[in-house]
Amino acid sequence: MATRLQFENNCDIGVFSKLTNAYCLVAIGGSENFYSAFETELADAIPIVKTSIDGTRIIGRLCAGNKNGLLVPHTTNDQELQHLRNSLPDSVVVQRIEERLSALGNCIACNDHVALAHTDLDKETEEIIADVLGVEVFRQTIAGNILVGSYCALSNHGGIVHPHTSVEDLDELSTLLQVPLVAGTVNRGCEVIGAGMTVNDWTAFCGTDTTATELSVMDSIFKLREARPTSIVEEMRKSLIDTYA
């Protein structure tokens, strides 16, 4: 079930937080309500890390990551980098990359298996992404927009893309990503989905402006109704695969 919250009266949750299956990053400086909302949901499943990147609070849009690793822009301070390395679990590799396009959250949309990248990303960066995050990288556009990270929200179960995406595009992306996709909106008709919400395999957070329709769409596409911690889901999947094999 998706949770509605606000960061300092702003509904763009995806800007101020980054949620993956292994950890959660939140911006500092907000009221403790924001922080505690995450805590209530995520409980002891994953660590919640308060951080800033380059002194800013828009951490969700500056970094990209999944359960395998986290990529931060070159503007990150050494202290911040160290803090991240210390706070995150050891399985997560934190890598600072030198990339001209420093808003990695806007340029990369990823889940644990596959990632969409900005078409102008460096070749090197693409290799690092594939390496650190352990994903297959596809350069794509969404509804003609090159900022793939902003206009889609991706999890291992499904994804929401820009509402103006055509049916053909949707099919193509879905084939690439191997997850069901739906064109939808968040925060009362806002098209910038990636900035408006953040999601992982069993929970999602969005702004308080989100209407009930949008919530129901989120719930259905990310399969949040059967919300369970990751470990249980993973086990189920492993057993299923064994059977078919």
Binding site: P163, S166, V167, E168, A183, T185, R188, G189, T211
Partner: protein, 513 residues
């Protein structure tokens, strides 16, 4: 599309627009700028906010006009295009949105409400264009417009009047003028028309209307006029003066068929025209014919009023003569389209057949022995005219005993026994003004009118400027009245206009001459 792609070498995938759920109500819809379905968008945003929904307009029930402040009154019918334009103009703030459509919604005519449904378009949220229609209610309030209220207060209110006078003892000129005015619609703007003793009064609401009427008169009869004004009210603060204007118009007293003895100055001025002349035609100038020399002269209004002579004998004094013998014409002339022939005739007065006269006449072309003619009996008449006296004394042979003016058709008329004519004429809506002690004798007026009608029958040139209408009650007489030689003159049917009847079964044949 695909042909173009092949030509440009690009491969364009066909893009079908998907559907998203409306973020508010969840109904599937194609994505738009606001990502809300139309209904939700409408419920969110009201583009008619701030626009006038009810307004008051003023209507004058007398003349059917609507007030456009501050002062203009616009005439418009109920639910007409003009009314719609007027209603939309009265709405303020309508320039903020784009007007797409406007139409009337039916309301009871006596409910004093007009409802207009207006459809407007405006841009909302992030670029979505929304169209919305809403009703505007107009409350109609009755308010007499200025001119109607002035008229109500004093219905006889006139600003300019034209007093038309002709100082003669008959009304023939006025009958003829009446027809002319009707034909040219010159008195259409007159508030009131009153008939007085020796003339007609016209009252107008506007000085310029009166002025144009006087100009019209100047073109058709020789007139002299003067204009006076009387102060009615005076606004000191704005220096506005309200006047009543009066035009005194005098028509020249010399009429058709009058016998005039010209003063010596005028006669010599006209090239020594014999002082005894007959007036043959009066339009904007007077045509004088010398019956002895068959010469014509024209006097226009200014020339006439310089001398201001009067007729010696008028058509009242015409006497019937029997024509016994007509000699061969000694001279012929065509003057102003009219043929005249000079010849000697033997005539005698009807009242005194014994006394025969041998006179010269200009009617030689139409008189035959056995005819009757009308003329002036100078031999037996007691003429009260200075010029005539002077002339009588000066000339050695004496004045001609009689001057014939026109042929008389009374006999033929009696034979025909036709009571109704196949044509009729209209008349102006005149009021009789008896307040000034006029001696209006109805019998006399009727006789004059009958003579005027006969005049019209006899003279085609008189009918030129007049509209004659077919008389529906006329039936052709069974007796072949045409068989007994020359019939009385009638109006040929080609000259008659069909009276305009707006009923559906009448055909409108407009046969003009």
């Amino acid at each position: 599309m695909s042909v173009m792609d092949q030509q440009s070498g690009m491969f364009n995938v066909q893009q079908t627009v998907g559907s998203v759920l409306c973020c508010k109500c969840g109904v599937p819809m194609p994505p738009n700028a606001a990502n809300m379905c139309v209904n939700c968008l409408r419920s969110e945003v009201d583009i008619t906010e701030g626009l006038q929904k009810s307004i008051q307009i003023f209507y004058c029930p007398e003349c059917g006009c609507y007030l456009q402040p501050p002062k203009t009154w616009i005439k418009a019918q109920w639910e007409s295009k003009e009314l719609l334009t007027f209603c939309i103009k009265r709405l303020k703030n309508l320039n903020k949105v784009k007007l797409k459509n406007a139409e009337f919604v039916w309301t009871e005519p006596h409910s004093k409400r007009i409802k207009v449904k207006i459809t407007v378009q405006a841009e909302v949220l992030n670029g979505a264009v929304l169209e919305q229609s809403y009703p505007v209610e107009y409350t109609v309030r009755d308010n007499l417009c200025e001119s109607c209220s002035r008229f109500q207060a004093n219905p006889d209110q006139w600003v300019a009047s034209v007093q038309l006078r002709q100082h003669v003892s008959h009304r023939r000129t006025f009958f003829y003028l009446e027809q002319l005015i009707l034909r040219h619609d010159a008195a259409s703007r007159a508030i009131r028309i009153t008939q007085v003793d020796q003339g007609i009064d016209f009252f107008f609401g506007n000085k310029s209307h009166a002025n144009s009427f006087v100009e019209f008169l100047r073109k058709v009869v020789p007139i002299e006029y003067r204009q006076d004004q009387q102060l009615v009210s005076h606004d000191v603060k704005s220096s506005l003066y309200n006047y009543k204007y009066t035009y005194s118009v005098k028509i020249c007293p010399v009429c058709r068929e009058d016998l005039v003895c010209l003063p010596s100055k005028v006669a010599s001025g006209l090239g020594n025209l014999g002082p005894l002349v007959v007036c043959t035609k009066v339009s904007d100038n007077i045509t004088l014919l010398d019956p002895r020399t068959l010469r014509c002269a024209f006097l226009d209004a200014r020339q006439y009023w310089r001398s201001g002579f009067r007729s010696a004998l008028t058509s009242r004094q015409l006497v019937k003569y029997f024509v016994f013998d007509v000699e061969a014409p000694v001279g012929e002339a065509t003057v102003g389209g009219q043929k005249y022939a000079l010849s000697y005739v033997q005539i005698a007065r009807e009242s005194d057949i014994g006394k025969m006269f041998y006179v010269q006449t200009h009617l030689g072309h139409i008189l035959k022995p056995g005819d009757q003619a009308l003329g002036y009996d100078i031999y037996g008449a007691n003429v009260n005219d200075n010029e005539m006296e002077k002339y009588r004394l000066s000339v050695k042979n004496g004045l001609p005993e009689a001057i014939l003016i026109k042929k008389c058709y009374d006999e033929q008329r009696e034979r025909k026994q036709r009571k109704t004519r196949n044509w009729k004429i209209k008349s102006l809506p005149m009021e009789m003004d008896d307040s000034r002690g006029g001696r209006a004798d109805p019998e006399k007026t009727d006789k004059e009118y009958e003579e005027f009608l006969r005049d019209l029958e006899e003279n085609p040139e008189l009918r030129f400027n007049i509209s004659l209408y077919k008389n529906k009650e006329y039936q052709a007489s069974e007796t072949g009245s045409m068989t007994d030689g020359e019939g009385a003159p009638t109006v040929p049917i080609e000259e008659l206009l069909a009276d305009l009847d707006l009923s559906e079964d009448e055909e409108e044949e407009d046969m003009d001459e």
